[in-house]
């Protein structure tokens, strides 16, 4: 089935005469529009949730796969030698792409948020950090730990998996739940419009009977209803979408790693995704009303 633009325009502009044949339905019409708006509002948040959870999962699993940290806590005089030994061990560990001791400046930068910029790092017994970049296959963390306990007694391997893997899982699950919510919202909207359309058709049984008597085809009668509900779905969803996008835009934003809450939103081209929601709502309304009308018109005498 191909639908041309002119057909869509014709559908939206409509046949004024035909439209008047079915009386305006008052406040129930507004209820449909309102419900569509509410659904779209929720849909935008579900979409934002899915996208944010997706970004988080991707980022975490990316970092999870790539990096880990080795911490060397040793008396000041042994720190340097232990660091050198550790680096040598790491160089010969399969699966480690590179390893690098963090400089004092880098360590200071890590601590700065807590202790301020003037921390005399060099005079404090702060552990030396070694950043390990992994190859895509990863390394054997348990084997590495064994070798390190033997050769570098002050080394603690923090491979991040321990605490990040459940987070990645949770984020992925959250993304799935977001998409599921979107599906449920769409289905609920279809159900709501089906009910509203059926009610409208029943309320207009008399009008339909008259239209039939004068030779109106089912498709003609259905069109008046389908057009109304599609436009209601479209305008309601458009209002709801815009409202939700503004709400998301106005969320207080904080830069940085941790903020999942503040990360709830759209980034870059993702801002175009919610714009699809009114169109989807219109399609849902169109299909739901057409199905309801088809069934109801066969039922009515």
């Amino acid at each position: 089935m191909t639908i041309s633009v002119s057909q869509i325009v014709e559908f939206i502009v409509g046949d004024a005469q035909a439209d008047r044949a079915v009386p305006p339905s008052g406040y129930t019409a507004n209820l449909t529009t309102f419900s569509a708006a509410a659904m779209a509002f929720l849909a935008v948040f579900a979409l934002a949730l899915s996208l944010a959870a997706g970004r988080l999962a991707d980022r975490w699993s990316d970092e999870l796969a790539r990096s880990s940290t080795l911490r060397i806590s040793a008396p000041a005089d042994q720190k340097e030698t232990q660091t050198a030994t550790a680096l040598r061990v790491l160089e010969t560990t399969p699966g480690v792409a590179s390893a690098r001791a963090l400089t004092d400046a880098e360590q200071r930068a890590l601590l700065e948020p807590w202790f301020g910029p003037d921390l005399p790092v060099d005079t404090l017994p702060i552990p030396q950090l070694i950043e390990i970049i992994e190859e895509s296959v990863g390394y054997d963390a348990a084997g590495l730990r064994l070798r390190l306990t033997a050769e570098v007694p002050g080394a603690v391997l923090d491979d991040h998996t321990r605490w990040r893997r459940p987070l990645v899982k949770a984020a992925s699950r959250l993304r799935v739940l977001g998409w599921l919510s979107l599906g449920l919202i769409g289905t609920a909207m279809a159900a709501m419009i089906t009910l509203a359309a059926q009610a409208a058709l029943s309320a207009n049984a008399q009008v339909i009977a008259v239209l039939r008597q004068v030779g109106a085809r089912d498709s003609y009668i259905a069109r008046a209803f389908v057009r109304r509900f599609t436009l209601r779905g479209l305008t309601g969803a458009a209002v709801g979408t815009v409202a939700a996008m503004v709400a998301i835009l106005l969320l207080p934003s904080a830069q940085g790693e941790g903020g999942f809450l503040t990360g709830l939103g759209f980034q870059g081209l993702h801002w175009f995704w919610p714009l699809l929601i009114p169109l989807l709502a219109a399609v849902v309304a169109f299909v739901a009303t057409r199905t309801a009308a088809g069934r109801k018109l066969r039922e009515l005498p």
Partner: protein, 225 residues
């Protein structure tokens, strides 16, 4: 045009009509009489495909109504004008729009419509009521409006169910006049009515056959009418 062959009909209880055969030829004029509840309205509904016979065959323009799709039935309504006993209108639209409704639903152009519509409304004496809403009309005005609506598509057949039920003698004479005029234009007419005076008046103007439904059958009424 319309052909019934051994048609029977029942609403679920006993048979209301049985073994009815009739052929409406083009340009004919029929009256349909019979006691109230005999099945006149039912018979007309069978004729225009609103009801399907429970036995026998009804052919509308040479097509068996049982084989017609819903769209076919809708399209046939444009060739058969019906004046219903309980003339129903769209109460939220003015009379003129209601009369023009068959044109509207068939998607005809609105240009020549306006002139036709004015002419038609004055033909049934409703020129000044064009903007009135149906609930504001009298019974007789409704029936004349229903006749105007029935003929606006210039149908081949006009079926009228008690078209003079609500109106005084003078007005029913006028309505008869309209039907006779339509018949002279070549339309096939069938009028269900109780009004024997109307039939007698018609017989002076046009060759009309009188059918009578009694005891479930269709009879050709005697010449004594």
């Amino acid at each position: 045009m319309i052909e019934l062959e051994n048609v029977a009909y029942s609403y679920g209880g006993g048979e209301l009509l049985s073994d009815i055969s009739l052929k409406l030829s083009p340009g004919s004029f029929h009256f349909l009489t019979g006691p109230s509840g005999a099945g006149k309205t039912t018979f007309l509904k069978l004729c225009y495909g609103a009801l399907l016979p429970t036995a026998g065959h009804v052919r509308l323009f040479n097509r068996d109504v049982r084989l017609m799709t819903r769209d076919d039935v809708a399209l046939s309504r444009r060739r058969v004008g019906v004046v219903h006993q309980d003339c129903q209108f769209l109460d939220h639209l003015p009379l003129a729009d209601n009369v023009a409704l068959p044109l509207t639903v068939s998607g005809r152009s609105k240009l020549d419509e306006a002139a036709d519509l004015r002419e038609l409304l004055s033909w049934v004496g409703l020129k000044n009521r064009a903007d009135a809403l149906p609930p504001q009309l009298s019974g007789g005005e409704r029936q004349r409006a229903a006749l105007a609506r029935a003929v606006i598509m210039s149908p081949d057949v006009v079926l009228a169910d008690e078209p003079t039920g609500n109106i005084d003698w003078e007005m029913s004479q006028r309505l008869l006049q309209l039907l006779v005029e339509l018949n002279k234009m070549g339309k096939t007419i069938m009028v269900a009515t109780h009004d024997m005076n109307l039939i007698r008046a018609a017989k002076t103007q046009v060759q009309a056959r009188v059918l009578r439904i009694a005891n479930r059958r269709l009879h050709l009424a005697g010449a004594d009418l």
